[in-house]
Symmetry: D2
Subunit: 371 residues, 4 copies
């Protein structure tokens, strides 16, 4: 699999933090979809999150679409987006080449690539690559939205500060999704915005960083999508989420909370009121790996940013000496407020791909050969 | 992807609970590996868990290897294991065909398969299919063990009862893995065995069920395996774990606990004592999607068994009437004590496949064409 | 890829000539398709070709469908067919274990599997595996036929004897396809049947074998299916055809005959008479890798059966001695009359999979997100 | 599969003839391979074939490597090459948008992409995309060459003119490969160069085009690579070759000539002279889908260039009117002299990928778990 993912629609990501550009190819898009570039740029800005608690890196991340896009529409052939790297400071990284930053992929990259990796700014492991995810995923999200799907995330937790959870009322939930999608700093409880930003700035002052938990909701996704066993919707989506740097936990619905319940509490009873629904939604819209039409709810834990200013113990890979390491250069005290759009858009990719797998079967279902 | 998974070694699962057999094909095995059939059968028994808190279904799950196995060794061609279904009571299920069992895939199967699914005993969604996972995964586990890898799981939590966690001392941990692998009921704290069994039996008396959390440890897995982004080891392993029925949460290392820490606490500092290690192991042996040689630690939440005896509200899919549903037939009050061997063996498959991807590159690395 | 192929629908083949069975799993079938078992058995008989110029191996190849099939219909979950090996004479092969049969995979299997391969009767390389191809492909063919597609092959050449080619008149062609599909020995020119059989028997008398060329025609396949570059219909279909043992040449339309033409002769001019067609069909219904609605025409060369009775020079792999080899046991003087149904059915698999890829896109094409 | 191919190493191609660039991503390259850029550029020139019988399009096809390449070496992360489109004349194509060029993908693109395709200069179907194939394949070829593999092609036939075939003597063959790789116009019989060029110029004068047949030889490729059935080396390589525009026939060794032989003539007898070889090589180095260490020999038929100046009958897709079509703009009277480097380099990709699949298994073969 490596840097490609997907079945009917595939995403391939390439590039390094300090190369000329990063890029992404989407293959298998439907033709004739009109891309809203403003909406795309808007999501790119949500990832940059300038003026919140940002790094000092100031690229204007306007992707250039170099293929698969003609007169404003998708052509159906592979669509490649390039995002230029304009604001690199390569010299910052040269001196720490062999000095392994704790929490980062520096050491494992040495082991995996035998020292030939582009080590500057994390290279191919840089968070910079998530710009590709946001861009490509945005196009998938636009397609889902055209079919009536909504998706949005908020920071349910930032360090020890908690936002209110998404509502179990579908109408309220749909409003909440719209609400968070219009916010730069996505919290449902407006009163939490300032304390959360404050916590981030405080961590920054300490030369430290903080993480948190995102809650994502998807509504309007039809029932009957996904496959049993390896094609389970949870398998598809979680594989995608763990490809986002710093993600260390993913759960669906009650997630680890299921451990404390009995089956009679955990099961979601069905009822019929014109369509089949469940009274609770502990299983988060997925039974047996297949969507049931209820909202899909996902929790994603994003660990604290690995790059901190505090002095850390480490090793120099080249000399095999224990060293004291202090990372210089720019870095965020937290990234979760930026990660939420990465999560939304990558999930959109996975949800679109799964839907396509069901669509592939539709013309052939219930057919019969008459001998 | 559907019912196949893997890159260099692939696993394909087929069968239904009440068909003649379930089965699994492993393609891409190395040739000349001597399979220890006793060890295979032993794992099959661990999944059956007869005499603990089991169902009344009493197949002797001795897989028949019908291909890819010759004179005791793998041939290297596709190895298929068939496991006969001997003890079905199909009549039990006939009458509840359209009656959707909460927490199960009954409803989503109707939506996905338009009513043509084999609904008997959950059909292709049955926990019976995990017998295939155990069998195929066991062979992968044997290969890993031949290379010095150890893997084992224990029930860190069953309902509200908690076992002690795995040790952070590698020597103790290796002993603990051996210990749990010799146990039918895998708990580290022997004093927890009776209370946990009691809790399961109590749930059974109530016509209810309970779930829990598994902690899995892998040692001896080399550094440098995995790929960035979509081939991240977490992506590969979590996709596999979510293909196991009833799994609703998967996390690595501190998992959701990362949200409460600062970067300076979360990062694992490196040190050198003949080889590069980390003083803590919060990131569970994986940085940037690639193994770092430290133990890999995973938490998997298994929800309470969906089949309970208590009367539940539901809908009859055929009549679209709200109904009261009482499930009859045999079912476990908990499955986590059986799930642990499924988890171990499926992870073994994923770890072997990832290792093969690295091995594929090895002969070509650092080569150079001389013009 | 190994022993699985396909994108939306996948085929996985397992088994050896002298194991208990060979088998095949189709994953990704539409649900609710009623399988005509008589038609399936009929194709199995076409492959056996008993009473023509057959081997002495007399299995009644009635596949057992062990999964994915319920009450006469596909369920949509993986469908596995097992075909028992009843009539093996394993002792025949024991004594020639290390003696490499020219034209066979004996030597390459040693190199590939390090001597652990099941060498009896060719093992996994046996023509026996084509029974799986016929069975699984037949189901795909039934689905295509329900959508109005016709497919059939005839022996355009057997050794130095030539049949007449398929007609360029679509109506005649459709009749010819029906005609050859009702024949056990598929030739368009009835006068060629006896000479061809005679040639095969003559080769048999000489302890030798002969090969030939199949011409396959597909009609009713819609325009617009296939993908540019690696998903070209020719790429998909030819990959499949070369997976059939003994195939050494595959061409489309004029094939190698294109070399002798000028562009003005080779191009197929378009015209419109209610729909867009071409006046000639040199390109065999495929332009740029995508179907254009005209008949798809394929030539497949099947080499002479490698197993012959004549004494051949060879090497014993174990002793590394040059040896004189005489193959005993049963074998066909030709297989092309049996191969034609393998070709038809495997092509059906490929054509169905390609069609599904287009169907996957259909619900999303021309949609638009309104911001 | 669409525009990606490969298992351990994958190639993804994107771009259109008249977009800003075409490009290709290789994922799964070994790290630390020093790329000889001069050799890469040299192959790019072979494809351009300026000064022979070329078009008037004069891009200097120096690919820019934007990722996966650092300090002269592969990093092991995805390597992307971009090739700028500098010399487009988009206006030439505007007026013939709906007018379907016979032999081209214009009509099928309409059916496949619903009219949204970039129709300028063939768009994604343009031969321009083969520049990506040459560039990416060249890197794979360099890796193979570092391991002692040689690969080269010559024009065995151009229209009705025939070159001498490759020698069956391995030493002579290796010299011939070196010889053709140093030639701009690859013929073994130097006396054929002028008549062949003359035939191409004559076709050009007539406003017409010609095709031909390439013979490709690969030496030094080890025995034991490839898989049975769907992973057969022929399947892998032929799928790749048919992804090259204008290829309509592919055969191995004697190819369609097998039809005229008896088994005793077609089989290649083995002998031992320090290593196991065959006295003849009719099967072209492949038995049962797996390499046997003998030279691999492939014939590929490239049809006459579809673009000709002669007036052709066609249809306007928009108006559904029959029209007389005269194609203006630049085009080659033949492309086979340029196609040969595409064939060589794409085969190199396939051969490297297949080799990696075997390498993936090597560390695990013959291992044994001691219980």
């Amino acid at each position: 699999m490596k840097n490609s993912i997907g079945n009917n629609i595939t995403m391939t990501i390439f590039g390094e933090s300090h190369g000329p550009c990063v890029g992404v190819t989407l293959d298998g898009l439907p033709s004739g979809f009109k891309i809203d570039l403003d909406f795309l740029y808007d999501d790119m800005e949500k990832r940059r999150a300038v003026g919140l608690i940002s790094t000092q890196r100031h690229e204007e991340d306007h992707p250039e679409i170099v293929s698969g896009f003609f007169n404003g529409y998708t052509t159906g052939t592979p669509l490649t987006l390039l995002i230029a790297n304009k604001d690199q400071h390569s010299k910052d990284y040269e001196k720490i080449k062999g000095r392994l930053r704790p929490g980062h992929a520096d050491y494992t990259a040495f082991e995996r690539y035998n020292g030939y990796q582009d080590y500057r700014g994390g290279g191919h492991f840089s968070g910079r690559l998530t710009a590709c995810m946001v861009a490509a995923g945005n196009i998938c999200k636009q397609i889902l939205m055209a079919k009536g799907v909504q998706i949005g995330s908020h920071m349910e937790q930032l360090y020890n500060l908690k936002d209110i959870p998404f509502s179990s009322d579908i109408n309220v939930l749909n409003e909440q999704i719209q609400q968070v999608n219009q916010m730069k700093f996505a919290v449902l409880d407006a009163a939490m915005e300032e304390p959360m930003k404050e916590a981030a700035l405080q961590a920054q002052k300490e030369g430290d960083s903080i993480g948190g938990i995102l809650e994502t909701a998807i509504t309007g996704y039809p029932a009957g999508i996904g496959d049993p066993i390896f094609g389970a919707l949870e398998s598809t989506l979680t594989q995608i989420l763990y490809s986002i740097p710093a993600v260390k936990g993913v759960s669906f619905g009650l997630g680890f909370g299921f451990a404390n319940l009995k089956g009679s509490q955990a099961n979601d009873p069905f009822y019929f009121d014109g369509q089949i629904r469940t009274t609770t939604n502990n299983n988060a819209g997925i039974n047996g790996g297949i969507s049931n039409g209820m909202p899909i709810l996902i929790h994603t834990c994003v660990k604290p940013t690995s790059s901190i200013y505090k002095v850390q113990n480490s090793v120099d890979y080249s000399t095999k000496q224990n060293v004291k390491l202090q990372i210089v250069g720019r870095h965020d005290p937290c990234i979760i407020h930026r990660a939420r759009i990465v999560v939304d858009n990558m999930l959109s990719f996975g949800l679109l791909d799964a839907w396509m797998s069901k669509a592939a079967l539709t013309p052939f279902e219930g057919e019969q050969y008459e001998s």
